[in-house]
């Protein structure tokens, strides 16, 4: 067993590539999803019924299907309508679309829990529309929802492993390559698990720091 771990660590370059690819993919899609989710969440609480219903419908469907399904839909169905994307773009696109739906729903939930007096004070001081959202409402709901947002980031990282099935060289793909070539499946995958654990623990640590911020800058 120890010898096998030696073999795995000998292939550290492959694993490092996969590790960095995973981090890069997750960070990029996390940021994009959050930004898009801000706009989608505004639709979800919009006073225009049609816009709100349509947005909620799309979000509900996206949250009801497995991520792998969405990934395959992007990968197989888009070419049928003449949209040809590289695997990387497919993977990134699927991650962003899927997580935007979840982040938007989380922000919407946090919004309904925000005391209405906050929005009222904003309006009394001349805020309206996007400005009201960006400067008064959004900071407060992000602070309030940071634990749930953090959990969703962890889910995003775990979903990113599915990208291996369309041959994107993420951590799981590279680990699989190594274990298949050198016949050390147990040790390689254990190392991969340890690396995922490191990524998720970092996210959890960040969330705990945010929690401390929330104590000071959040609503009681």
């Amino acid at each position: 067993m120890i010898a096998n771990f030696g073999i795995v660590l000998g292939e550290w370059r492959e694993l490092a590539t996969g590790f960095l690819n995973t981090i890069w993919l997750c960070a990029l899609s996390g940021v994009l999803s959050l930004v898009l989710a801000v706009f989608v969440s505004m639709l979800l609480v919009s006073r225009r019924r049609e816009a709100r219903r349509m947005a909620q419908g799309v979000v509900d469907v996206l949250r009801a299907i497995p991520f792998l399904m969405l990934l395959f839909i992007v990968y197989y169905c888009l070419p049928a309508v003449n949209v040809r994307l590289s695997s990387w773009t497919c993977g990134l696109f699927a991650l962003v679309v899927y997580n935007t739906a979840y982040f938007a729903e989380i922000l919407r939930g946090a919004w309904t829990h925000l005391p209405p007096e906050q929005e009222e004070a904003g309006r009394a001081y001349g805020y309206v529309g996007l400005g009201l959202y960006r400067r008064i409402i959004l900071p407060q709901i992000v602070i309030a929802a940071s634990p749930v947002l953090g959990n969703q980031m962890i889910t995003l990282v775990k979903n990113s492993a599915f990208l291996m099935v369309i041959t994107i060289p993420d951590l799981t793909f590279m680990a699989n390559q190594v274990q298949a070539i050198y016949f050390v499946p147990l040790e390689t995958m254990l190392v991969a698990v340890a690396l995922y654990w490191m990524i998720c623990s970092t996210i959890e640590w960040t969330v705990r720091r945010m929690d401390r911020v929330a104590l000071v800058r959040g609503h009681e």
Binding site: R123, A124, Y125, G126, Q140, V216
Partner: protein, 261 residues
């Protein structure tokens, strides 16, 4: 220079304001006038509609009937050139609201901003004043209310009285034409009421135009230029404080004051 739309030089005028919530009539044909530099206190039992009246003035609630004027300009309703009326959009309302300074019963400071941040937030981002100027003025205001040392603290760390004083500074920072106070001391512990009333008294003395909805009789007696009594949505009596507290006309007012003497 007299404004032809506003010959009396009134800052705020309310005519025939009525508002219902469902089947409950909260305001019935209320009239109100306040000239520059004057302080008007609005008194009345709970549920009489005083808070609703205040919130209709800056259109946080839309009245069902009646008109509100700020220095002769109609609030909440836009009169087109052809003479037709339409309700103001949210954007137009937002612009007018910057000319009111509102202080809430629950303070409603923004918890994610520091004390200084709360005070400069709207001047910078809504009124688009330069940051340097806004910060300098905010610091002067904080100094005036005695909270300079708290400029970088977050609201969660302040007492109720301190928070309300910051809220007053926030309202003043807008350089409003009139200050609207909605029961500013009702949520405070008794020991903290004094510090807030003291700030409000100073403001009244300096000539700020103020409409104060309150239960604090002492403040009304000392600082108000005029006292208005509202009961069940209608104005019962309006008088100078000496007359109101010393020799009220209506029996209803007399009955109300008896509970406080």
């Amino acid at each position: 220079m007299s404004d032809p739309r506003n010959p009396g030089g009134l800052v705020v005028e309310v005519r025939g304001l009525s508002k219902s919530f469902g089947r409950l009539r909260v305001l019935r044909g209320v009239n109100l006038k306040i000239a520059a530099g004057r302080t008007l206190c609005v008194l009345g039992p709970s549920g009489s509609g005083k808070s609703t009246l205040l919130r209709c003035i800056n259109f946080l609630e839309r009245p069902d009937e009646g008109a509100v004027f700020l220095r002769g300009e109609r609030v909440g309703v836009h009169c087109t050139a052809s003479g037709r009326e339409r309700a103001m959009t949210d954007r137009e309302l937002a612009r007018i609201r910057t000319r009111f300074g509102m202080v809430f019963q629950q303070f409603n400071l923004w918890p994610h901003l520091t004390v200084l941040g709360n005070v400069v937030e709207s001047p910078i981002h809504v009124q688009r004043r330069p940051r340097g100027e806004a910060v300098a003025e905010a610091e002067a205001l904080l100094d005036k209310i005695g909270l300079s040392d708290k400029r970088d603290a977050y609201p969660s760390r302040l007492s109720g009285g301190q928070r309300q004083r910051v809220a007053i500074a926030r309202a003043l920072a807008m350089k409003p034409e009139v200050l609207l106070f909605d029961e500013p001391t009702s949520s405070l512990d008794p020991e903290l009421v004094g510090e807030v009333l003291s700030v409000m008294r100073d403001l009244a003395r300096e000539g700020q135009t103020m409409i104060v909805v309150t239960h604090e009789m002492g403040f009304a007696r000392e600082a108000a230029d005029e006292v208005m009594f509202i009961d069940e949505g209608a104005v019962v009596e309006t008088a100078a404080p000496e007359r109101f507290f010393g020799n009220p006309e209506t029996p209803r007012v007399r009955q109300f004051l008896q509970r406080f003497t």
